[in-house]
Symmetry: C2
């Protein structure tokens, strides 16, 4: 099979496996945590009823009641009446939780209640986090040519110098990412989530796509929301694509920093360049070697010496 | 100045700036959030008193009271009596929060209450997250030689083949990291934090060092803890060094995967190799070029073709 076809087949396999892994995680989390949650909710309801039935409410009894309310709340079980019909561990919510684990966003709006749940979280993330990184890396690598190398090449062919071309391209990419992955989603979130302002939306997008995930704003947690499961799945897709774009942006910045001698100046590793010839030349099989491709010529020493002597990251387009 | 000396000076500068940046963040967060927190706490206390004073407690009044209690709790302000004397936004706690932002751990046990706090969080993380990555990368790069390249070289000189040597070294490093950054800290946490089991400790270490940071377990949040500020600073140091070791482990694994042809097989980028000669040969200044270093010899094509033809990542030790 042709190498490019093989490469896309591999990527499709990765993504399919990623979805299956999330579904598997959702099923396990749901089956471990749901009974524990139900029990906690029942206990809390009984406690609330008991509290209401007592003849006199004093500071001590209120304190005892509130300790239990806040402990249950920490585990995502709310004492409030309108939240008692929805679970944090239905299939969509469990999948959302599994997704926040493997992407390392980790909102913590619901967390495993039981010891088996904690152990499973560790094992699940131990496999899931590196695998998600791998899937994201594989996706970004395939996007580098159409979104970075090709546009920079086009700018250069239109007569721009390599360095201004990379800066212009980076700025354009940045504006597009800000518009489509911060401003637009923030507008949607502030429209869909009743209590969110536009700033809250921007804050949520930023805190999520940096994988900080504080969890003070999490979409789809209102039990009264329509099509809640579909909404949660959409947010998951947004998070995945958003993280991919953030990674692409970071990598583009890294390449630009290489070209401008910034990584050399700070004595940091340069950006990996093996994706330069991706999509261009099939990886040689049967050990047969290609003649030296143009971008390697003159590169006997792979340490950057002075910025001026470095090759631009799309020399190949001109080769 | 000698290049190695310059390199260490740069690293010291980075770390110093990192600490100053955390202190600066702590001061700003504390000054923005503390007044808002105090106001919320006062309101909540008044509300609690009002609730206690009413003659009859019915379901509706309890519900209204609980809504406000849980909202305040979401922002880290607890209604409970024993937590009313400590602030989430004293200097140490604010620094801890700033640290969870820039490392992307983001527990979310306390979160900005005010709009200016949210805006500052975004701007602070926008600079802080890439800078923290840079400091971590710079630290790891300087640790690669003593902790990875030198030990693998020693194993090889003692007669081991390159591949088994890298696997043995990786396993040893893994065991050491698990012992010193998971098992030992978990034992300490389960001893210091009254409500934590050993499993909770392991779960906390794992969730933190993967930067998931769910925030269901956060050390140093009990207001009654002795030397709480010192404890919080120690946890911050643990997080920083722990993240560094996780990154080192990941990088060692990546190099091992390169050597075993795994990255080639999955068509992923290879690990950056410019740190191979770190500490060995000073970076040439004034544009003067070194003769080709041994590890580059025969590497006209930098794409790995077949695993067997790849150079080991410490060929330099044998050169």
């Amino acid at each position: 099979m042709h190498s490019a076809g093989k490469s896309w087949l591999l990527l499709t396999g990765f993504i399919l496996f990623y979805i299956i892994y999330l579904l598997f995680g959702a099923l396990v989390f749901s089956s471990i945590e749901r009974p524990v949650e139900d029990k906690l909710r029942e206990d809390l309801d009984a406690l609330k009823q008991e509290f209401l039935n007592q003849s006199c409410v004093n500071a001590a009894s209120l304190e005892r009641f509130l300790v239990k309310v806040l402990t249950a709340n920490k585990y995502g079980v709310s004492v409030l009446r309108n939240s008692s019909f929805s679970s944090n561990w239905d299939l969509a919510s469990s999948m959302f939780f599994a997704n926040t684990l493997v992407t390392t966003v980790g909102y913590g709006h619901n967390t495993p209640l039981s010891d088996p749940g904690k152990v499973f979280s560790i094992v699940y993330a131990l496999i899931g986090v590196p695998f998600t990184m791998l899937v994201l890396t594989a996706c970004v690598q395939r996007l580098m040519y159409p979104l970075v190398l090709a546009p920079v090449g086009r700018l250069q062919r239109s007569g721009m110098e390599p360095r201004p071309a990379t800066v212009l391209h980076f700025l354009l990419l940045l504006v597009l990412v800000v518009l489509f992955f911060f401003v637009a989603p923030a507008a949607v979130f502030s429209a869909v989530e009743m209590t969110w302002s536009f700033l809250d939306g921007i804050y949520f997008c930023f805190i999520s796509l940096c994988t900080i995930g504080l969890g003070d704003f999490v979409p789809g947690t209102q039990p009264t929301q329509k099509y809640r499961s579909l909404y949660q799945v959409s947010v998951m897709v947004y998070l995945f694509v958003g993280l991919m774009m953030m990674y692409l942006l970071l990598r583009t910045f890294h390449k630009m920093a290489d070209l401008h001698g910034l990584t050399t100046l700070l004595q940091l590793p340069r950006c990996e360049e093996t994706d330069l010839d991706e999509e261009r030349e099939p990886i040689v099989e049967n050990g047969q070697r290609n003649p030296t491709p143009p971008f390697v010529t003159g590169k006997e020493d792979n340490r950057p010496l002075e910025p001026g002597s470095q090759l631009t990251y799309n020399t190949i387009n001109k080769g």
